[in-house]
């Protein structure tokens, strides 16, 4: 699953290059969004979905820091 998520993240970057709609206005989605705009709005939504999967299946093992692992407050001088 981790590999699939990684592939999907790479796919987001590939889809972002959408050279296939560079010179097109049609179809105009919902009657007001040219395809070059509608596709990228959809890509924003897709990005959120892919990253939700990444968080689930690609969560790094070393970022959960418990309070007891935290650094002690730094030493400062005595209060004056």
């Amino acid at each position: 699953m981790k590999r699939l998520v990684l592939a999907l993240v790479v796919l987001l970057f590939v889809l972002h290059q959408d050279v296939w709609w560079w010179d097109r206005i049609d179809p105009v989605v919902l009657g007001f969004m040219p395809i070059g705009l509608a596709f990228h709005v959809l890509l924003s939504i897709l990005t959120a979905m892919v990253y939700a999967l990444a968080l689930k299946y690609w969560w790094p093992s070393d970022v959960d820091v418990a309070d007891h692992e935290a650094a002690a407050p730094r030493k400062t001088g005595a209060e004056l």
């Binding site: 105009v28 040219p34 705009l37 990253y51 820091v65 650094a71 004056l80």
Partner: protein, 541 residues
Amino acid sequence: MIPLWIILGYLVVLLLLGFASNRVSTGTQVDYFLASRGVGPVMLLMSLFGTTMTAFAVVGSSGEASQTGIGVYGLMASASGIVHALCFFLVGMKLWAFGKRHGYLTQIEFFRDRFESDAIGLLLFPLLVLMLFPYLLTGVLGLGGCITGVTTGAFPDVFKSTNGAIPPWLGEGIIVSVVLVYIFVGGVRSTLWVNAFQNVLFMGVGIVAMFVIAEKMGGFENATRLAREKNPSLLKRTMDEADKPRYEAAMVGYETKLSVWKETKVGPAPRKPHKPGIDPLDWLSYMLIPLSVAVFPHLFQYYLTAKSAKAFKLSVVGHPIFVMITWLPCVLLGVWFVTGEVNGKSILPPDADPNRVLAMGIKGITGPVLSGLMAAGILATNSLDAQFLVLGNMFTNDIVAHYAGRERFSEKQLLRMGRAFVVGVVVLTYIVSLTEPRSVFKLGTWCFSGFAGLFPLTIAAIYWRRATKWGAIASILAGGVAWLWMFHDSGYGSQEDYHFMGWMPVAPIVAVATMALIGVSMMSRPPTNRTLEKFFALGVK
């Protein structure tokens, strides 16, 4: 006067939020600069999103869309959604974990420790400050200009030289004073609360403005139909055949005006007509610009405020959606305004200043309430507070406490010092802004490329065990030299469409910095086991 009252109300709310946030302060440095590392998912999303969405997102996107068209959304918004959120995931969470585990307060403390080098701090400190300062100045100047624009005619007897508008020096003074008061009393917590309020404001106003204006223009479909009839290039990313004669005629007019201007040098130089369309190589290299969010010192500071790594989850998923909610109305309005008509009359004059497209459009076809709310929304899109605060933090911890010895100062003294530095940075910024350094706008855009040039260093510090001190220093120097050389080659930013071998400057800067980092790291002694254990031991379990 209604817009003025709305702006005043907005500024009062910021002050109230600042004082309210002070009531939960614990009076320590960690609380003042990092909100005691206790920020939850919602506030973290609000702060990260609010800080990455500068005034450019609202004002600049509409102006750019009025010239370049709908492609601006893909060029900047969907790209930012992909790259920013990935940076939060790959960089932000890791830096937060290092910060919590080893007690870092600043970015430079992390780099010093990771690369076992005090010198890297001395190299990075002036670089970060010098790149952040123009960014800060553009914010102050832009917001001062916004107040001047909105208040035109409000005080005809008081400010005669500015057509009754609050002059920039006063507008800038009001803005920095309000920001100074709330960050002085509330620290980073006040900026979190203010960011949350600002995000709701500018997203809400953008959506409402889009619906109101579409309705005035005869509906969404009609607004886009007018754009298609009058300027079809705005609805795609190449120049439409129908627009070629207009562009060619505009270029002829420009050449004529330019030759006259070169002889007389009277007034400002004529503006070159914008060539419709987006170059695919620009599109590709622009994707590197948002990498700067992994490096901005003020974002680093926000990363450290998180309560846990899990607090980042909402930011990673929500950020692309928030970017969409903010940018879609701005891009559509930019396109609609430039081609739109209301009652048979064009909304904008033919040569409207792109930076004023949004304000002029809204003022032209809606009432003073929406106009005032939009002005407040524009004022809300700034990250001055976080930038002022992080500079104060860096001066206190990276310079004074680091070199004079933290033990020499009590917690209260460090906090007082931090506040004093914040005041100093604010006052200095204001004084410099009074000199009206307009060229700073050109420098500001170059600073983003400079920050992106430090991305290879950041990502290697986190993920590449073999990255060494000398590799890091070489990367900073190589990226810096490449930046300086191209900045000089572009006439210090005056050549706005400057490219190096067809690429935007950010691409060669990142490439050179990466090559230097890898090459020199491989040739130098690896980091010590102590450092590897400190930063990588858990990751390889």
